[in-house]
C-alpha cells in the first residue's frame, strides 16, 4: 500500500546538483514524486512503501554529489497524495533562509575536458560550469540558489542551454550557472586606458596569453575577482609589477598550467596534491625541488625558499594556462591593502597605472573573494587565508539557535572577518583585509548588510573586540545603535582560545585545557598589549595563567613595522648596544629616552620573532606584515642538523623570560653558532615552552591559536614533542589561526563562556 513520505535534507545541498541527483535516483528506484529547494535545504516527496523510502534515503545519503555536505536528514509520513511522475519543482522559500551558502567550486574535470575538445559546443568557452562546479557564493544575490537569484540571471539561456537545463539525463540538468558562448557572458580585452583591442571572442584568450608571454602585465577578471598576472620567468616583468604595485618584497603566488608541471618543480605530498586538485583549488605553499627552476624566485618571493602555487580554478584560467603552458605570477588585483577588485570600471580606474592590459568579462560578482592560502606542516593543514572555496559556511558546528542566534561577531582589525548567526547555522565570512583601508571597511560593512538582507535578520547581539580603536569595534558600535542590539566586547586572546575550543567541540570537556595564544598584538584586560598568553579552561570558565615577560611597547604601530625596535626593547640593558648600529644617533637617543618613560607594556611573541629576526640580521624594517617571522622560519628550515638548543634550559616556567632567550641567543652568535641553528633552536625553545608549561601544570590537552601558529616549523616540532610526551595538541584547522578566527572565537566565547551554553 503506497504511502507519501516527506524527506528533508539539510546542509550544503543547494547549487551542488542535488535535485538532479535525486531525480535520477528516483527514476532508478522507479519512484514518483517531487523534489525542490526550500529555506531549510532540499525537500522530497515520494509515493513509496516504508521499506522503499528507507532504502531510498540510505542511497541519498551514501551517493550524494561530491561537493555536497549533508548536515542532517529526516523522513516522515505525510497525508497521502498521488503523483503521476517525478518532477523537479521551483524553489519555495516561505520563511527565513536557514541553509548553508554554497561556496565557489573550482572547474571540474568533465568541464575541463569539454572546453578542450575540438568539436564540443563548449570548446574554448571560458565560463563553462556544471552542477558540480563553478561560482556559487561569488554570484549569489539571494537564496535559495536558483538562477534567478544569481548574477548569471543577467544572461538568458539560449535554446541549446535551456535544453541541457531541462534534460534529466544530462550533466547540466538544473545547472543554475549554465551558459554558453551564445548566451552572453563576454570576454573583453582592453589596453591600460580601457580601450577594446580585440573583438573576436575566440581570439581573446590566445591574445591575452601572447601578451603575457611578451612580458606584459595583465589584469584578469576571474570569477571571484581580478588577478594581476605576468610571466613568472621574466624578472623584468615581475620587478616592474613590484615597482608599480609599490610592493617591494611581499611574495607573489604562481599559477601553474598543470599538476604535472608543479610536480617537476616542487616536492608535493599527497595531502598537498589533494588540496591543489580539490574544488577549493587554493594557493598551496610548496617546497621547491633542489634544482634550477624556470622561475625567477628571487623576484617572486625575495628571501624565501617556499612558494605559493595554484592551479586554474575556473574555465577561463584553464584556457589561458593551456594556451600559455608556462607558470605565471597571479596576485590579487588590488592596490595597497585595498580589497580585491571585482568590477570592470573600478579595475580600469585603479589598476591602469599598474597593468598594461585588462582581460575583463561582464558577469557581475556579488561577493568578491581572494584566493584561499593553505600550507602543510607534515600532515597538519594550516589555513593561512580562508576565502574562495572555503567561505562562508561553517558546517562543523552543532546547530545553534534560539537565544543563541541573531548574533553578529565583528572580528579584529587587520585580518578582518565577521561571523553571523542569523538562524541555526553559523556563517564565517571570507577574509576582508586591513580595516584601516577605507575600501576594505566599505566592503566589510556592505557584506554585513548583504548578509542581513540574505537572511532577513537584524542581529540582537553584536560582539566586538575590546580594543577601542579597532575599526570593527567602531562599526560594531554604530551597527548596535542602528539595530538597537546589545553590544558585548570580548578580549582578543580569549577569543583566539575560544576559536580552537569551538573548532574541536571542547567546551564540554571534563579535563582542564591549557590555552596557548601567541600573536602580534591584542588589547589586554590590564591595559597592556598581550600576545604571549597562557590560559586555563575548565568547566565553561577561562582564566589567564601566565604570559611572556612584559617588555616595553614603543612608538605605537611603528614597533610592529620595525623589528629592530622590538630587539631594542627586548634586549637586556647590559647587551642593548648589540643593536646600536641599527639606529641613527638621533634615533638611538630618542628611543633610549622613550624607554625610560614608557608605560605601555607587551608580552607579544610576534614581536619576539621580530626581535630574533633582527638579532640574526635578517631584517630591521619590514615592508609587509609577517615578513620577519617568514624570513626567520625560512632560515630555521634550512638547518639540517639535529642539534637543537633550548635557550631556556633550566629556567622556571611560571613566566617566560624573553631577555634570557635573547641573551642566550646572543651568546651563541658570539660563540660562532650558525644562524640557521640558532633560528631553528629558537623555534625549538618555543615549542618546549608549551610542552613544559603543560607538564608542569598537569595539562594533558593544549589548544594553540594566534598568528604565530601559522609557522609550519613550530607546528611540526610541537606535533613531534606532543606525541613523545603524550600531550594532545589542538590547532585551528577549519579557520586560520591568525586574526581571521577572532570573529568565530568571539561567538564561541559569548555562547559558551559568557552564557555557559553547554555542549
Amino acid at each position: 500500500m503506497p504511502q507519501t513520505f516527506q524527506l528533508t535534507i539539510t546542509g550544503q545541498v543547494q547549487g551542488v546538483g542535488f535535485r538532479p541527483f535525486i531525480y535520477k535516483l528516483a527514476k532508478k528506484f522507479g519512484l514518483k514524486g517531487r523534489v525542490g529547494n526550500n529555506e531549510n535545504g532540499v525537500l522530497i516527496f515520494i509515493n513509496a512503501t516504508t521499506k522503499t523510502a528507507n532504502a531510498f534515503l540510505k542511497n541519498v545519503v551514501e551517493e550524494a554529489p561530491g561537493v555536497s555536505k549533508i548536515q542532517s536528514h529526516s523522513f516522515r509520513e505525510v497525508p497521502f497524495q498521488e503523483f503521476i511522475d517525478f518532477k523537479i519543482i521551483a524553489s519555495t522559500a516561505e520563511h527565513q533562509i536557514n541553509i548553508p551558502l554554497t561556496p565557489d567550486f573550482a572547474v571540474c574535470d568533465s568541464c575541463k575536458q569539454e572546453i578542450r575538445e575540438k568539436n564540443n559546443r563548449r570548446h574554448g568557452y571560458a565560463f563553462t560550469t556544471c552542477t558540480n562546479c563553478g561560482p556559487r557564493y561569488a554570484v549569489t544575490n539571494k537564496y535559495p540558489f536558483e538562477r534567478t537569484n544569481t548574477t548569471v540571471n543577467d544572461f538568458g539561456m539560449c535554446p541549446a542551454c535551456t535544453k541541457e537545463y531541462r534534460d534529466p539525463e544530462y550533466r547540466r540538468f538544473h545547472s543554475q550557472t549554465n551558459t554558453c558562448i551564445d548566451c552572453g557572458i563576454q570576454l573583453i580585452l582592453q589596453d591600460a586606458t580601457g580601450k577594446d583591442i580585440e573583438d573576436n571572442q575566440e581570439k581573446i584568450i590566445q591574445k591575452a596569453a601572447d601578451l603575457i608571454r611578451k612580458g606584459c602585465i595583465l589584469a584578469l577578471k576571474n570569477t571571484n575577482g581580478y588577478l594581476i598576472c605576468c610571466d613568472a620567468n621574466n624578472a623584468r616583468a615581475i620587478e616592474l609589477l613590484r615597482e608599480r604595485k609599490q610592493r617591494p618584497s611581499k611574495p607573489f603566488a604562481i599559477l601553474y598550467p598543470s599538476m604535472d608541471r608543479i610536480k617537476t618543480d616542487f616536492e608535493v605530498t599527497s595531502e598537498e596534491e589533494g588540496m591543489l586538485l580539490s574544488p577549493v583549488a587554493p594557493i598551496v605553499i610548496l617546497n621547491p625541488k633542489k634544482r634550477k627552476l624556470d622561475l625567477k624566485r628571487e623576484q617572486i618571493a625575495p628571501g624565501l625558499q617556499r612558494l605559493g602555487v595554484m592551479l586554474p580554478s575556473s574555465s577561463l584560467l584553464t584556457l589561458l594556462m593551456d594556451s600559455l603552458n608556462i607558470p605565471i605570477v597571479a596576485t590579487s588585483g588590488n592596490i595597497h591593502g585595498s580589497p580585491i577588485i571585482a568590477d570592470q570600471k573600478e579595475a580600469v580606474e585603479k589598476l591602469s597605472d599598474v597593468v598594461d592590459y585588462f582581460l575583463h568579462h561582464n558577469l557581475r560578482i556579488s561577493f568578491p573573494q581572494d584566493d584561499s592560502v593553505i600550507r602543510f606542516a607534515d600532515n597538519h593543514k594550516i589555513i593561512n587565508r580562508r576565502s574562495r572555496g572555503l567561505a562562508p559556511n561553517y558546517l562543523e558546528q552543532e546547530k545553534t539557535g534560539g537565544e543563541m542566534s541573531k548574533i553578529l561577531a565583528m572580528g579584529a582589525h587587520l585580518k578582518s572577518t565577521f561571523t553571523f548567526v542569523p538562524n541555526s547555522n553559523i556563517y564565517v565570512s571570507q577574509y576582508f583585509g586591513n580595516l584601516d583601508n577605507y575600501d576594505v571597511t566599505n566592503r566589510f560593512g556592505q557584506s554585513i548588510f548583504q548578509f542581513g538582507k540574505l537572511f532577513e535578520t537584524e542581529p540582537r547581539t553584536i560582539l566586538i573586540d575590546s580594543h577601542p580603536n579597532y575599526q570593527s569595534s567602531i562599526i560594531g558600535e554604530e551597527l548596535a545603535e542602528t539595530w538597537k542590539s546589545n553590544i558585548v566586547s570580548v578580549q582578543h586572546h580569549k577569543a583566539h582560545f575560544a576559536s580552537v575550543l569551538g573548532e574541536h567541540h571542547l567546551f564540554g570537556t571534563e579535563e582542564k585545557i591549557l590555552g596557548v595564544v601567541w600573536d602580534g598584538t591584542g588589547w589586554g584586560d590590564d591595559q597592556a598589549i598581550w600576545g604571549g598568553e597562557f590560559f586555563s579552561y575548565e568547566k565553561y570558565t577561562m582564566q589567564r595563567l601566565t604570559h611572556f615577560e612584559y617588555v616595553d611597547w614603543l612608538a605605537s604601530d611603528k614597533m610592529a613595522k620595525e623589528p629592530r625596535l622590538s630587539l631594542f626593547s627586548m634586549l637586556d640593558k647590559e647587551e642593548v648596544d648589540v643593536c646600536k648600529h641599527k639606529f641613527s644617533e638621533t634615533e638611538w637617543k630618542v628611543y633610549n629616552q622613550m624607554l625610560k618613560k614608557n608605560i605601555l607594556k607587551t608580552s607579544s611573541v610576534g614581536r619576539l620573532f621580530d626581535a630574533v629576526a633582527s638579532l640574526l640580521n635578517l631584517i630591521d624594517i619590514s615592508t609587509y606584515e609577517g615578513e620577519a617571522a617568514m624570513l626567520l622560519e625560512n632560515l630555521a628550515q634550512t638547518y639540517t642538523g639535529k642539534d637543537f638548543i633550548d635557550f631556556l634550559e633550566g629556567e622556571k616556567y611560571e613566566w617566560v623570560h624573553i631577555r634570557t632567550i635573547l641573551t642566550k641567543m646572543n651568546e651563541s652568535m658570539v660563540a660562532g653558532m650558525s644562524r640557521e641553528q640558532i633560528a631553528n633552536s629558537f623555534i625549538h625553545t618555543l615549542a618546549l615552552v608549551i610542552i613544559k608549561m603543560a607538564k608542569n601544570n598537569n595539562f594533558r590537552q593544549v589548544a594553540c591559536s594566534g598568528g604565530v601558529f601559522q609557522n609550519a616549523l613550530l607546528i611540526s616540532k610541537l606535533v613531534y614533542l606532543g606525541k613523545k610526551s603524550k600531550i594532545k595538541l589542538r590547532f585551528n584547522r577549519i579557520l586560520s589561526s591568525n586574526d581571521e578566527n577572532i570573529s568565530f572565537g568571539q561567538l564561541c566565547y559569548y555562547q559558551h563562556i559568557k552564557n555557559k551554553i553547554c555542549v
Binding site: H413, N437, H467, N469, T521, W553, D557, K558, V590, K597
Partner: protein, 339 residues
Amino acid sequence: MPILDFDIITLGHGSGGMLTNKLLDSGVFDLLSNDILDERHDGAFLELHGKIAFSTDSFLVSPIFFPGGNIGELAVNGTVNDLAMCGASPKYLSLSFIIEEGLPVKDFWEILVSIKIACEKAGVKIVTGDTKVVEKGKGDKIFINTSGVGTINPKANIGKKNIQIGDKIIVSGNIASHGMAILSVREGLEFDSEIQSDTTYLNHCVEDLLNNFGTDIHLLTDPTRGGVATVLKEIAEATAVGIEIYQKNLPIDDQVASACELLGLDSLYVANEGLFIAFVSEEKAAVILEKLRQDTKGRNAKIIGTVVANHPKQVVLESAIGGKRVISMLPGEQLPRIC
C-alpha cells in the same frame, strides 16, 4: 619685575590676605593695567554692541615653558582664537590662576609678561581675574583659565549648518608643531633642531578674511587637542557630510614630520595651537587661499580636502601612495593595532 621679599609663591598668596595683595598689587594689576581693570571693582563694566561671542578655556600644559612659548601666551591665544573661530573680534578677557605652592615668582612673572605681550599683539584687554594658590601636589605648577567676549563681525556667518557638499577645506599652516614641541621637551627627546610651538593669535588674520569673503567662509575651527583628524571627524559626524583629505597636500614642517615618524605618531592627531581650518565655498576657495597665503600667519596654508556626499559622517584620507584610509576618533591615546 617688581622687587618682592619672597621668591616662591606660598599658600598665603592665595588666601586673600596681605601676601596676595602684595603679589597682585605689585604684580598683576600693575603689569596688565588698563582703564577697565584699573577700576578694581568686583566685576568689569563693558560696553559692547551687536552680537557677542563668549568663550572660555582652561590651560594645563606640562612643561609650562616650551620652545616657542609658555602657558601664559597659550591661555591668551587660546581664547582669542576660539572667539575668532566664531567670527568675532575678541575684545575683553578674564584671567584666573590656580597656582601650586612652590612656583618660583620669577616664573610667574615671566608668564605674566607673556600674557601682557600676547594681549597687546591680539589687541585684547584683561578686565577681571582671580588668583588662588593650592597646596603642593594639588596642582601642577600653574593652571590658567581665560574667558573672553568679542563682537561678531557683521559680515560673518559661521556655523556647521553652512557647510555644503563641494566646500573646500583650508588649513592655515603647518600641522602638528605645537604637540611635537611639547612632546619633545616633555619626553626629553632631542632632535637635530628644536621644534617650536606654533602658538599665536589668529584674530587679525581671520578678520581680514571675513571682511573680504564674508559668507563664503562657512566654518572656522581650530584643531587644537586631538589635531586635524579629530576636529574633522567631529564635524563630519555632527553634520552628516563626508570629508575627503589628501595626504600629499597636508602642510607639515620636515622636522616635525620626521619627529612624528620617529615616535610612531600620526601627525593628523597631534595638537596645534596657532592653526585654523576653514570650510569655504568651492568657487572662492582659490582666491581665499591666495589671500590667506599673503598673511604671515597663513603663508603655509593649503587646501587639504573637500566636503563630499559619499560616505556621510566619514573622514577618509587619500594616502600619498594610493589607497584610502579611514580616519576615526581616537578614544584614547594612539594604541598599536597592528597584529
